[in-house]
Amino acid sequence: MSFEASIWYLVALLTLGTGAYVVFTRNIVRAAFALVFTFLGVAAMYVFLRADFLAAAQLLIYGGGITVLLLFGVMLTHRHEGMELKLDPLKALPAVAIAGGFFVAIWSAARRADWDLVAPVEPVGTSEAIGSAIMTTHLLPFEEISVLLLVVLIGALFVARRSGEEEGS
């Protein structure tokens, strides 16, 4: 096993292990912290796939941004003694069924796929290609997403606004 392959297996183990911990733990704060390491593992997977820009974006947005907001929300909303997450069998059953079905679908697709093995390529920069693709071919979806985000932002402001503040107090 090559050096890169052994690191790959370590990262895969970290990603799957912390991901499983997120699902099975009852401590919601620990679950949120474990999710950080799952996101880091996914970022490392992007590095193995030579997608450097995507890896950095994953690290910046999921690792540093979303999980911080998540932790902030968790800490603001639950008591410090630790809220236990309830594992309801009635809810667990459909979840297991859906996850199992999804796994079978992915597995059969992966088995049937014709894997075209090529020699590992040298890492090349991807940010330039991504930038010009967004600004030329995919300009309309890009603009649509930005409009959507604006709508979400205004909606969040409207929801968060205290009622009875229309008089400009």
């Binding site: 890169e4 912290f33 890896a55 690290l59 902030f72 800490m75 410090h80």
Partner: protein, 349 residues
């Protein structure tokens, strides 16, 4: 990594007989050891320097006896003391997260040193997305700070962690916006590429590339990055007068030392980012190229670090609402103005 190995002849000769896998592993460990050495030495020097600067600002002399010459051995003595001290874990703390938190904070500071260009050929890894990588990795320290605050099971620590979360999420936006004008001027994200664009003297540096807009952007970057590394006047997560010591109240011994070392490393890293993006990196002001790159870069970085320390011992701490006001109503709009202004300036002028 491979750049460093190719540039230093000695490892090349040593590694010739080994299989590529083992050689890659050795080079990786050697690079990590080199970075760790720089982080540790830099931390010890900056701690001593800050004590001297703070002392002189307050009309004192600071450490004088350890090591005979202006107390230069003081940091090493403190380091040994912290190594030998007992590592206390509170009874009701979350043990795993409590131990993990200093490591997360330290790792994020440590990993940010990887794409720093020290000279023309001296860089551990010239990542194609270097600037983005540093911004991403340094933002991970917030996770460690929140982790420490929560795991300590202490109200002051928790408050510190919460403040850190709010502060870092807010200040990531002005920092990101203040990076953009320099990236527009150099049209690359690679740290080494940004330095190469600014060759040939002070007038080619990015700080003057976009007229007034890049100068203002440099100032905004400096201010916002102070807030991102929790330095005074933005050190609310560890405000001594309100929160005892904030998120690291319960830490002692080596775990505390990790937080301390990480803080000084982060100060250094944000100063490096500002110097590389706006002040020409390892290029000297006259474009002569006589002095070696690391010396020039260190001079610029230490100047910025000195200003950081000067700020800390001069300005009073901001309140939480003032901090948020500065981030969202001053620095963020200013950042947008700088981005558009610099873009127009670069195209039209």
């Amino acid at each position: 990594m491979s750049e460093l190995a190719q540039n230093l002849t000695l490892p090349g000769a040593l590694l010739a007989g080994l299989s590529p896998g083992v050689a890659a592993m050795l080079v990786m460990f050697a690079s990590c050891a080199a970075v760790l050495g720089v982080v540790a030495l830099n931390g010890m020097f900056l701690v001593w320097w800050e004590r001297k600067i703070s002392a002189h600002i307050q009309s004192r002399v600071g450490p004088m006896t350890t090591g005979y010459w202006h107390g230069w051995l003081q940091s090493i003595a403190d380091g040994v003391k912290l190594l030998l001290k007992e590592n206390i874990i509170p009874l009701m703390a979350d043990r795993w997260l409590f131990m993990l938190a200093p490591l997360v904070v330290f790792m994020s500071a440590f990993m940010a040193f990887v794409p720093i260009p020290w000279g023309e050929k001296l860089i551990v890894a010239d990542l194609n997305v270097g600037v983005l990588y540093i911004a991403a990795i340094t933002s991970l320290s917030a996770i460690g700070v929140i982790m420490a605050g929560w795991a300590s099971n202490n109200k002051w620590s928790l408050y510190g962690g919460m403040r850190a979360a709010a502060q870092i999420v807010s200040y990531e936006i002005p920092v990101g916006l203040a990076l953009v004008p320099a990236l527009l001027a150099s049209s690359t994200l690679s740290m080494q590429g940004i330095v190469e664009v600014q060759a040939g003297g002070i007038w080619n540096w990015n700080i003057f590339a976009g007229g007034p807009f890049t100068i203002v952007a440099f100032g905004a970057l400096f201010l916002a990055s102070l807030a991102e590394v929790n330095r005074a006047p933005f050190d609310l997560p560890e405000a001594e007068s309100e929160l005892v010591c904030g998120f690291h109240t319960e830490y002692s011994g080596m775990c505390f030392a990790f937080f301390f070392l990480a803080e000084y490393s982060e100060m250094f890293v944000v100063a490096v980012v500002a110097s590389v993006l706006y002040l020409g990196g390892w290029h000297d002001p006259l474009g002569l190229g006589i002095l070696p790159g690391p010396v020039v870069l260190m001079a610029k970085v230490l100047l910025l670090v000195f200003v950081q320390m000067w700020f800390r011992w001069t300005f009073p701490r901001l309140r939480v609402d003032q901090l948020m006001y500065l981030a969202w109503k001053v620095l963020t709009p200013l950042g947008f103005i700088n981005v558009f202004g610099a873009a127009f300036w670069l195209i039209l002028v």
